[in-house]
Subunit: 109 residues, 2 copies
């Protein structure tokens, strides 16, 4: 992963994970795999797991432990009301930034 992308992911990766959880509950390994499929090939598991712990502690997700057919039990994360509210804020912040950047890109032709 380029250093540019690494820095740009700060702040946005969190929103991306919340957006994934807004579609349906998921566990860490699954989220990592999905993001990698979407092109973030070098994303490391450790980063996602740490992020999940963070948003759990902030109360944006509910957690249930479910047995897995293979490997240790999964921690399944579900976006709750507080998380949805925070996600909406995220989209607002994102929209603002994206608009400004698009504007700057146009100005530079």
């Amino acid at each position: 992963m380029g250093k540019q992308m690494t820095e740009m992911l700060k702040g946005t990766l969190e929103g991306m994970v919340l957006a994934i959880l807004a579609v349906q509950p998921a566990h860490g390994y699954e989220i990592t795999a999905q993001l990698r499929d979407q092109g973030f090939t070098d994303l490391v598991e450790g980063t996602v797991y740490a992020l999940l712990i963070r948003i759990e502690q902030r109360g944006y997700v509910d957690v249930t432990k479910e047995p897995s057919e293979k490997g240790p039990p999964r921690k399944v994360y579900t976006l709750n009301a507080q998380g949805r509210e925070y996600l909406e804020e995220f989209w607002n912040t994102w929209s603002f930034l994206a608009e400004r950047l698009e504007q700057l890109r146009q100005e530079g032709k």
Copy 2:
């Protein structure tokens, strides 16, 4: 400035400043004022000055010192060839991220 925005600016603020310099040379105070006008009202000068020193050390900009009618001499930054190349990379990285985010937003309806 919200904490969300603060984190999101990591990685993108640099690109924004380079994009501003791609339009025309400018000095730090000017860049800060422009960004504030565009809605980043809480952006602090210190951040921009530190960023400018960084991109100068990396060789993305050329610097000339010009006397000011008011206050100490200005450091005018001009984007050079290396900086333009880096800016193009930035837009590529940004486009990729923005597309993925937009896709996630659609999926969540």
